[in-house]
């Protein structure tokens, strides 16, 4: 199965949120959607899930316009939240049923996932009696229980301790191996790097960079040097307009070419 998002435009009021976003992902593949807060990640996901219609552009499954009655999508929203005062099993079954499962299958699937995520002991508790990390694991079940073909995870690792993060990684890898399309949205590169063969970087509503992670890494011109020093003034004095300071006080030196790097590093070491 191939999921394609083609040339999506969307604006809220006078604010243009998406200006021609396109990307694609295939079964058994994870796609990482990177971008800063407010870049348009969540809006892209919501359009993909038919929460609202785009102004122009379309979503395709296997070259055909998507039919939302036939496709199952699992979604872990960035803003986590379920019914705090309801029994966990009740609400998980409810969400699985809303996603098209029969009651019996839903109970079975939810119990499987509770066991898989080591949450079976909490089956009949109220959600708000659980810790935040555990609530997040419960929420993850809503994205997985109905055996979706496309899984969308928005910042799945935020708020998880290392043990649970490992557990989640295993689950995600397993889903990718099962041939699901997994869509990651995050602003943390390290997790994306671990699973995603393809990434897309979205900035200000535009896809600024997209392709296989391997290619991007290889083809990216390595002509920048980051210098951390106690005396940035001296370097600025010498190199002038080649330097820019970033937010944490480091200097970014743009080199004339990648081959220049060694020379510059040696020179910098000697001089300062």
């Amino acid at each position: 199965m191939k999921l394609e998002i083609k040339n999506i435009y969307k604006s809220f009021g006078s604010k243009k949120v998406l200006k021609g976003v396109s990307f694609s992902a295939e079964s058994g593949e994870a796609f990482g959607l990177l971008g800063r807060n407010g870049a348009g990640k969540t809006t892209s996901i919501r359009i993909l899930m038919d929460v609202f219609a785009p102004e122009s552009g379309e979503v395709f499954i296997d070259e055909k316009p998507v039919d939302y009655d036939k496709i199952r999508i699992g979604y872990l929203p960035e803003e986590r939240g379920l019914y705090p005062k309801k029994k966990i099993i009740d609400q998980l079954v409810y969400f699985a049923e809303l996603n098209g499962m029969s009651k019996r299958d839903a109970v079975k699937a939810v119990d499987y996932w509770l066991k898989r995520l080591k949450m079976s002991e909490h089956r009949n508790k109220r959600l708000d009696t659980l810790s935040k990390g555990n609530q997040q694991k419960i929420q993850l079940i809503t994205a997985l229980a109905h055996n979706p073909q496309i899984i969308i995870l928005d910042e799945p690792f935020s708020g998880l301790d290392p043990v649970n993060a490992m557990l989640l990684k295993d689950v995600v890898k397993e889903q990718i191996e099962k041939g699901k399309i997994v869509l990651f949205s995050s602003h943390q590169m390290n997790y994306i790097e671990e699973f995603c063969s393809k990434i897309g970087i979205i900035n200000n509503g535009e896809m600024v960079l997209q392709g296989s992670l391997h290619d991007i890494k290889r083809n990216y011109v390595r002509d920048r040097l980051v210098v951390r020093t106690e005396y940035p003034e001296k370097i600025i004095e010498k190199l002038g307009s080649q330097c820019t300071a970033n937010e944490s006080g480091e200097l970014i030196i743009k080199l004339k070419s990648a081959e220049d790097k060694q020379r510059m590093m040696r020179g910098a070491y000697g001089e300062f």
């Binding site: 219609a53 803003e79 939240g81 379920l82 409810y94 969400f95």
Partner: protein
Amino acid sequence: MKQFKTILKFELLNYIKNKVFVGITIFLVAAIAVVMFFPQIAESFGSQSSEATNSKPVMLIVNDAFDNSDMLKESFSSAFADYDVQITNDGIDSVKSLITSETAECAFVIKSDSEYDYYVNNNSLYDEKTMIADSVLQNIYRVNAMVKSGVSPQDANKIMNVQIEHNTTSLGKDQTKNFFYTYIMIFALYMVILLYGQMVATNVATEKSSRAMELLITSAKPVSMMFGKVIASCIAGLIQLVAVFGSAFLFYNMNKSYWGDNFIIKSIFDMPLDLLLYMLLFFILGFFIYAFLYGAIGSTASKVEDINTSVMPLTFIFIAAFMVVMFSMSAGSVDNTLMRVCSYIPFTSPMAMFTRIAMSTVPLYEIIISVVILISSVIGIGVISAKIYRVGVLLYGTPPKLGAIFKAIKKS
């Protein structure tokens, strides 16, 4: 459709499993049980106490005007059957002290044939004794006057106490009979719609503030969500109404003999079946129209605390409709122009039209027009509300302005 059923079931179970919902229903049924069993309870207590004390309150009469005290006592005794009327010759002061010590309840000091003083310990708001005494004395005065001009006392009495017989045949509706049940029905309609409307709004806002909405909106269609929620709360409301009125009816039948000929109670349970069906129809339609709007408003508030201010305009419309109906009912003119207009406006017609059907004779075509307008508005408002809901649930921050919402709906 399956999704709608799932939502309906889930929401309905929410109500039925809710301890507050169950508690209120049980409390109401218990309260009604107390009211309906009251005459039976009162009788079993009352029979003992009346034997024990067996005394009527004492009413003192001081006669300073008439020669014949017996005639005075007889007239007062028949006018105040519940009192032990005693003629006394004691002075004013001792009469006063008898009243303050509560040996006697009240006293009339007759000064002349057209003047008296009334003494009572605590003058009640509902004390009508002076009015009765006025007419008793008037009667005596007139009889005396007639006797003076040559009529025999017997004839004079006959003339004064002539009984007129009359029969009322109501060709349309009898407002004396149906006033009470219409009143109760309208009040029930008002309470249930206001209560459940607010509940729907709070329910939606809670889902939104707990962010369960993020998941709901991606899992279910807004139209199924909206209709599922509203219909579930409508069923919950009906269950509550049936529980309350059903138990009232049951308890009434268990105590029928004790209530005897109590006019009000009898007229309440004497409701014709067709009116009950109209009640059901207008209840459901009226409920839908308001619940949809409450749901839509709830979806635009991002915090539960914002709900109260957001729903205010809608609640005002509803209260205004209720007021118009109530005033028209108590004025006895349910067919006035305002009520006629109100019975076609979808927001007011459930109450206005129902009242008119119950208390006056409305031509069938008017009812049909009103119901058709109402049904089409319910569908229209349902769809618009689902659209507002779809747009509203994803807007966080300050509640959006009306214009902004409509713009967003147009676009989606």
